[in-house]
């Protein structure tokens, strides 16, 4: 990970200063009611979650998103219906508000049709990285305004799901390049797409090989090892990391009747693949990781680590903020990662200012 940002991870308890004393309370006071207050506030404000799916066409990205959120986010494109493959990579975003039991979630899904589809896929990750950095930039600009909004709208990408085609061999060079670049900027969860074309043993072997590849190339996917706070986390996350990443998933948005129950699945001549059946595929694991247990953590890591890294890099380059007595004087910033915002045309304005500054300095 970025050498600038070291653990402690975002959720570690605040350090206690030497002057704090620990006091015994003689009776019930009612401090724990603050948790209820927090909940009420959170429910009122609602939650935001931005997810990006990246992968070649035909791997079932749109179907997977529909399955995850059990709704028709997108019309999944059926093959052979004359939809032309896009010539260049274009990012499409769609936003929905979904509510469950009083909890409102504003969900934004960004799709990347055309990724890896061209003959020459060189630098196909640049538009994606540009998009991610643009969201960070937008947030940063909002944050440094004088009169800020009460609640800054959060469009930063919290999680990127990367679909690995089920070749059964190992990660391809395109995958490795992309993962290497993306893991430094955003949380990446790799999944094996269309896992119904692999048997269970093949899946395991494929998974091991992918894990080996990731280790060899020092790619840190979510959950990152360096952000584990305590022993419970480490146990939990090592389970995820060692045994289950990447998840082998199958997506489906049609329902079929199995044993008298209605289940989501894919119907084939040799049987019905149930999406939510753990014996068939690992979709429930992915869903639980993303939504039920680790959603807040994904957002925290994005806000506290990735966004801060971007901010440090950006401010070092352009010396935006005024210097106060607490100014941390850093040496001229780190060599920009390949995901430098100057590469994309979207951030032209940033380009101009940084150019001016570099002229100024020398």
């Amino acid at each position: 990970m970025d050498p600038l940002r070291q653990p402690p991870s975002p959720c570690s308890p605040r350090p206690s200063s030497p002057r704090t004393q620990s006091c015994e309370m003689l009776g019930y006071v009612g401090i724990e009611a603050v948790l209820d207050q927090l909940k009420i506030k959170a429910m009122k404000m609602g939650f935001e979650f931005n997810i990006m799916v990246v992968g070649q066409s035909g791997l079932g990205k749109s179907t997977m998103v529909n399955t995850l959120f059990k709704s028709k986010m997108w019309k999944s494109t059926l093959p052979g219906l004359g939809v032309p493959t896009p010539k260049t990579l274009q990012l499409q975003s769609v936003t929905h508000v979904i509510e469950e039991k009083g909890v409102k979630l504003k969900l934004t899904v960004t799709d990347t049709p055309g990724f890896g589809d061209q003959i020459n896929n060189d630098k196909c990750w640049d538009p994606i990285l540009g998009y991610i950095n643009e969201q960070y930039e937008r947030y940063l600009q909002e944050e440094i305004l004088i009169t800020r909004q009460r609640h800054i709208p959060d469009t930063r990408v919290h999680c990127c799901v990367y679909f690995v085609p089920p070749t059964g061999h190992c990660l391809r060079p395109l995958d490795i390049e992309f993962l290497q670049r993306l893991c430094q900027t955003v949380n990446v969860v790799p999944v094996i797409a269309r896992a119904d074309s692999l048997t269970i043993e093949e899946r395991e072997a494929f998974r091991r090989r992918i894990q080996h590849n990731l280790r060899t190339h020092c790619i840190e996917v979510y959950p990152q090892k360096c952000f584990d706070e305590d022993i419970n986390d480490r146990i939990l996350n090592s389970k995820i990391r060692q045994e289950r990443i990447p998840f082998a998933v199958v997506g489906a948005d049609r329902e079929h009747l199995v044993n008298g129950r209605c289940v989501l699945g894919r119907k084939t001549k040799w049987g019905i693949i149930e999406v939510e059946n753990m014996a068939h595929c690992e979709f429930p694991l992915l869903r639980d990781l993303l939504i039920r247990t680790h959603l807040q953590d994904l957002k925290d890591i994005t806000h506290n680590i990735h966004y801060e890294n971007y901010r440090v890099f950006r401010l070092n380059k352009s010396h935006v903020l005024p210097r106060g007595p607490g100014w941390v004087n850093l040496a001229p910033g780190p060599a920009p990662s390949p995901a430098s915002p100057q590469a994309t045309p979207r951030t032209m304005k940033v380009c101009r200012w940084t150019q001016d500054n570099s002229d100024d300095e020398c």
């Binding site: 004393q21 948790l35 059990k70 709704s71 909890v103 584990d228 939510e276 753990m278």
Partner: protein, 542 residues
């Protein structure tokens, strides 16, 4: 704890849905004095416990995991310009608030209270009573010359909630004879905390999630129970603090006022505050669950409180109370004082809102004022949105230009001074040279004069010696009478034998104008040459 909650309190039971959330019940909590409310928080399921069969390497053919529920149809919501979606099944993100809460639990909470009031009005006692603990503070003296603020931090823990509580006390408030400067230290302290947070926020490499937030979240203002009205000092202090911090006024030592007087006093106080434009903190009424109770509490402001940590036996229970000969004032009895209301409002219902208000209103106001002071604006002169970046760049250029100019100026002055100094030195040098020349000339003249004198003297010496030689010759020839007398004269003159030798001749003698030989003169009588250094020695004999 991290991302995992304790698994023991939660178990996945097939066929049942997820357990219900605990209801937030204020009334019931008031009755409990020493016990924790039953029914813990809904615990968050651990990721691996949701599929614990998998991780116990228990391969079963039956379905594990969450049972698929019958499709629910949710209500359509129209929300601004984003579409809403109906879901055809249970997704499971209702656990989001719990995830958030768990993270907060793990981080711990932070709450800072500022107590402003005269010495001896009962601030420390009230805080002790509020948090049901003894914070070990001794009585402060009345004789401080200035108002000081003393901050102390304590770590409290209740069930799984850790609270870092900071109590800031004003020491010496209202004790001075001249109270004009009493409230300034308080305002400065609050501003200093905002400033520290702002500096942290503006740093490049910042760690806001680790930052110990020391901004004051609430100010308890203690009003002394005179029964009449607000003191001027109180009014002034509250007016200067109301835009910087949430103020909750309380009437201290409320057992000194009777019930009827109390009612009138409260009305008088509120009307005075309103008429002077002091904005005290109003409990929020926008959320339905707490709107009613907050609204009713708003009508009871300011709270009349009594603080005590001493226990007195009433009936068959020990309660916190103050014992008088005429009765016992129970702290937690609603009929006696409003202490329970205060604790309820401050801690149980609105702690989060107080923190929120501090951050989003007071801190933002401070930040805006501070940045505007530095010259940053959001809108340029043509009313187009101006980014901080552009303003900063413009300012930087401006300052840079000014710096250049100043540097030039200084250079100019420096060069000028150098020139002046040089000229002066040259002048001095020339003068010195002239003087030297002059002196040299004088010296030269002197020398010449002396040379002249010497020559003359030598000539005279030669002449004299010639004369002497000739006179001796003359004496040797006629020998007798004419010369003898002369000789006798000479002898006689010589006999006593004074012969004056010129030992040294001083150049300094400028009055050698007569030029006569000294030897002749000296023979007759020693005549000092005006004390100018000629040394004559009288010697005997020839």
């Amino acid at each position: 704890m991290g991302r995992a909650a304790h698994c023991s309190a939660f178990a996945v039971v097939k066929g049942q849905g997820l357990p219900r959330r605990r209801q937030c019940n204020h009334v019931s909590r008031r009755d409990r004095t020493g016990e924790r409310p039953a029914g813990g928080l809904r615990q968050l399921p651990r990721w691996d416990s949701l599929h614990h069969e998998l991780f116990q390497s228990h391969m079963a053919a039956k379905t594990a995991g969450m049972p698929s529920q019958l499709p629910d149809s949710e209500q359509n919501q129209k929300k601004d310009n984003t579409r809403s979606l109906t879901m055809s099944g249970h997704v499971g993100f209702e656990s989001l608030p719990d995830q958030l809460v768990n993270r907060s639990i793990q981080q711990g909470f932070c709450f800072n209270i500022l107590c402003v009031g005269e010495t001896g009005i009962g601030k420390s006692t009230l805080i002790d009573t509020l948090f049901n603990t003894n914070f070990e503070d001794h009585e402060s003296s009345h004789f401080y010359p200035h108002v000081r603020l003393k901050a102390q931090t304590y770590e409290l823990q209740e069930s799984n909630v850790r609270l870092k509580l900071t109590i800031v006390n004003t020491v010496g408030f209202g004790d001075q004879i001249n109270k004009e400067e009493s409230y300034q230290p308080i305002v400065d302290y609050i501003d200093a905390q905002f400033e520290a947070y702002l500096q942290e926020e503006l740093k490049i490499k910042r760690s806001l999630f680790n930052y110990h937030d020391s901004r004051i979240h609430v100010c308890l203002y203690f009003i002394s129970p005179t029964g009449h009205s607000l003191k001027t000092l109180d009014l002034l202090t509250m007016k200067s603090l109301d835009s910087k911090v949430n103020i909750i006024p309380v009437i201290a030592k409320a057992d000194a006022i009777s019930k009827t007087e109390l009612q009138k006093f409260k009305i008088k106080l509120m009307s005075e505050l309103v008429s002077n434009g002091v904005q005290i903190y109003q409990f929020p009424t926008d959320d339905e669950t707490i709107a009613k109770i907050n609204a009713s509490m708003n009508g009871h402001l300011p709270f009349a409180v009594v603080g005590s940590m001493d226990e007195v036996k009433v009936g068959n229970k020990m309660v916190k109370a103050r014992q008088y000969p005429w009765g016992i004032v129970q702290v937690e009895n609603e009929n006696h004082c409003d202490f329970v209301k205060l604790r309820e409002m401050l801690l149980c219902t609105n702690m989060e809102d107080l923190r929120d208000q501090t951050h989003t209103r007071h801190y933002e106001l401070y930040r805006r004022c501070k940045l505007e002071e530095l010259g940053f604006t959001d809108v340029g002169p043509e009313h187009e949105p101006l980014s901080l970046q552009e303003t900063y760049e413009a300012k930087r250029h401006e300052f840079y230009g000014e710096r250049q100019r100043k540097e030039e100026e200084m250079k100019q002055t420096f060069v000028q001074r150098v020139k002046e100094k040089e000229a002066m030195l040259k002048e001095a040098e020339r003068e010195l040279q002239a003087k030297f020349e002059h002196l040299k000339r004088v010296h030269q003249e002197e020398r010449m004069k002396l040379e002249e004198k010497r020559r003359l003297l030598e000539e005279e010496i030669i002449a004299f010696s010639k004369k002497k030689a000739t006179s001796e010759i003359h004496q040797n020839q006629p020998f007798m009478v004419p010369g003898s007398s002369l000789r006798k004269d000479k002898d006689r003159k010589k006999e006593p034998g004074y012969r004056f030798e010129l030992l040294c001749f001083d150049v300094r003698a400028c009055e050698t104008s007569d030029g006569r030989t000294d030897t002749e003169e000296g023979r007759r009588a020693p005549r000092p040459r005006g004390g100018l250094g000629s040394v004559w020695r009288r010697s005997q004999g020839l």
